[in-house]
Amino acid sequence: MEQLLGFALPGVPYGCTYALVAVCLVLTYQATGVFNFAFGAQAFASAFIFTYLTQYHGWSGWEAFLLTVVVLGPVMGYAFDRLIFRHIPNSNSTAKLVCGLALLVGIPSLLPVIFGPQNLDATATIFPFFNPNTVYFTIGSGLYSTPINGIYLATISVTVVVLILLTILLRFTSLGLQMRGAVESRRLVQLDGVNANGVVAVAWIISSFMAALAGVLLASGYGAFNSDEFVTLTVTAIAAAAWAMLRSLPIAAGVAVLIGVVTTVLQGYIPPNSFWNAAVVPSLPFFAIAAALLILPGLRNLDSSRDPLATIDPPPEPIAASTRAPSMDRIIRSLWWVVLAAFCVSMLTWIPVTWETVFNNGLTLSIICLSVTLITGMAGQLSLCQATFAGIGAFTAAVFSVHLGFNFLVGGLIGAAIAAIVAVVLALLSLRLRGLGLALMTLAAALLFDNTAFNTIWVTGGAQGTSIQSKWLGTSAFFDFNGHAMFILSFCVLAVAVVIVLLVRKGTVGRNLAAMRGSETATAGLGVNPTWQRIVVFALSGAIAGVGGVLYSIQQQHVSPVDWNTTFSLVLVVLVVTTSVNTVEGAIQAGIGLFVVEQLLTYLPSRFGGPSLTIVLFAFGALTYAQHPEGVLEYQKRRSTARFERLFFAKEAEAEDRKAQAVSVGASG
């Protein structure tokens, strides 16, 4: 018993920080209907700035605490509500999810852009409440005693006080009542005379304050200052919130503490150097999420809108491209072929090696982005594990080459098949999940792979990964990695992938998927088997991602776990959503755009953040998803086309407009 207590007690403060973020998730979801993935990133930002100020600018713990937790945290929450989430209709759950993901990816990348690249050490920070080095008392005795230091006391006491105050606010004040009403429909409670926007802003302010608090507690308390720790914080909080069905604050807090305790207990009992300790214990939150999603039926349709006034939302803006003048259409199509021919000729003749590498990287990444187009653009499902599928393809190819002497490309094909099988298994596990539920399940799967298969030396070759040898690719004279051969291979595979996606989109499966996006109930009611359609699209998407992963790895000349972690899956979604998630051009622009922008930014001083700034730019783009579901880049393209059209083909454009208007009048009449 003493041993159990000795292992369990150190988990309590961890559990408390998880509890704070879990409560943030539930509170924001209950008050606003937004499942804010970004709380972990907000916690990271506060911890980063807190550490930066105390370590480099000599601020005292209290001063830094006041700025980061009391001022910056709430301001961040208010800004997110005021600038982003308030403008997203309650019914647009995908936009809410995408914006949360954009913030999750964008905030940690924004910090080095603002503060410059920093190498912070959280252990050196000065904690404001208690002296972290003082042991106030000890529980137990002997080998399993637990010294209770300042950090331990501060974390538990702060969490308990904050949770009690929050419970009082929600249960016993009119503000709490108004918050509960606002989640149904801001517009409805406004009709009752409630300042709904103010109520929702208060919820954002409180939850962001708590996220900032959790970040500072976690960083300064445990010296845990890397983004991985904050991913664990986010995911554990999500697991706890899921078990609370995103409803009950006490259950969310309780489960979070329980996960913290169970983690340290398992770490205590399982031998430290075993596979189980390295892989399974860190995966506990992901198992918890998956189990909650599979067991609790209430989580299956989390983001279905309950707004009774949703029907008063105006219809979406018409798509500009649908009314393009025929001459303009011909010019654009011809121009595309000219640009494509010029690109191919350039790549094979004069382009410098640097840019050749950039475009080859971009082409291979485009294939992976196409898998996002399939699953998110065509099937309307947000998958957060596309990089995992790509990684499965790449690692399988590497394993077959290293251990069995296969050609890397042959291994890659087997890898693509295995990626498709894993995708099918995931599809079968998430048959009843939609929207947020599916996003969480795929996130859990991605993190599970990060901690298990991608964390096994036999598979990955260690943290540095495996270098790809040219002999694995057959003839080394042909495959000089960055050369023309790589371009030809990538270009051909991308072309095949594009054709496959286009054929599926205009075929029966594509039409069925489009119908399912509109109403799965009605589609099934016509005789379409939705389960089969989902399995097909998951399998195809997994296979395409797997092939992309293999080619991307060849281009990078190594297969590394860092390339295929969960964060990269999130980045992929943000990239494709910014360009256009519904079109194959969008996927190609996302893949090539990432590397082109990155390369262009190398011409700027490193002070501007380099690759981090690229992610920030795309994250900003993704934040406009609610206004431009076609992708902000696609929107700008269409706007420019329309301007050009008005200048040079005004008469034709007017005729098209008149035709469109006549059709729309006929429809409404």
């Binding site: 219809p315 979406p316 496959i500 054929l503 599926v504 205009k506 075929g507 029966t508 499966v509 594509g510 039409r511 069925n512 489009a514 119908a515 996006r517 509109g518 109403s519 109930t521 009605a522 589609t523 099934a524 009611g525 016509l526 005789g527 379409v528 088997n529 939705p530 359609q533 097909v536 195809l540 059709v663 729309s664 006929g666 429809a667 409404s668």
Partner: protein
């Protein structure tokens, strides 16, 4: 038309469904014959839509059996019931956002035969065939929305969306059509159009119709007989005129007004 005169196409035997402690549908038993038109009427909350959901497989009854064409439907998923010949429209319009009206019907046309394999798509063999286009055009013509064929449903009003739903359900060439409040949100003229379409499909195509509707004049125009439900239980089954004359029905439907 009396029940005994027609071959039972759809048979419900003691169907029960409850949500928590509320008995939404309680021991409902009735038949619908092939080519017959039956009205399922009752006040709001009577359990009509729940019963439709049980028939279509979207809800699983706790007790009782449902037979279609002699086959028990227990354990048969929604899409297979649709392929057996159960078509449906919805109380709350369920259209496919961003798709044209023609595409709505094309989905139905293909799915009724269970077509839609990936390999056909990949070999570019999924283009609409002339006979498919003809059938789709004929259904659009029947419902009177040919002029809307190439318009996205996003541009349509509620009335037209209801007609699209109806056309989509008819495109599956169902043996029975479950029409759930098809006139809801329509004006008098549009309601008359929908009633005419339902009569036509019943008489010309031999499609049975099970109609849930609050507009009793429309029900009278379309159905051969009626089943009345109230608070989950079956109150009456018989001809529409008998049904309207029944004091229990009048009480359930009209309350104090019925007695006056």
């Amino acid at each position: 038309m009396p029940v005994a005169d027609v071959e039972p196409l759809l048979r419900l035997e003691g169907v029960c469904k409850s949500f928590g402690g509320i008995k939404a549908v309680h021991t409902i038993t009735f038949d619908v014959g092939a080519g017959e038109s039956v009205g399922l009427v009752g006040p709001n909350g009577a359990g009509k839509t729940t019963l439709f959901n049980c028939v279509c497989g979207q809800l699983r009854p706790e007790e009782g059996d449902i037979f279609f064409d002699g086959l028990p439907l227990a354990g048969v998923p929604t899409y297979k019931r649709a392929r057996l010949g159960i078509g449906r429209t919805y109380q709350r319009v369920e259209v496919f956002t961003d798709m044209t009206v023609r595409d709505h019907l094309m989905v139905a046309e293909r799915s009724r035969r269970g077509e839609g394999s990936l390999w056909r798509d990949l070999l570019n063999m999924s283009k609409p065939r002339p006979e498919e286009m003809e059938r789709v055009d004929a259904t659009l013509e029947l419902v009177g929305i040919s002029h809307l064929a190439d318009i996205s449903v996003n541009a349509l009003g509620l009335g037209h969306c209801r007609l699209v739903e109806l056309a989509r359900a008819l495109a599956t060439e169902p043996k029975i059509l479950l029409a759930d409040e098809p006139s809801s949100g329509l004006d008098l003229h549009e309601t008359a159009e929908v009633a005419a379409v339902l009569r036509t499909v019943q008489r010309e195509r031999g499609t049975a119709v099970l109609l849930v509707e609050h507009d009793l004049s429309m029900v009278a125009e379309v159905v051969d007989r009626a089943v009345v439900m109230d608070l989950g239980s079956m109150l009456f089954a018989g001809t529409f005129d008998d049904c309207m004359a029944d004091p229990a029905v009048r009480d359930a439907y009209l309350g104090q007004m019925g007695h006056a």
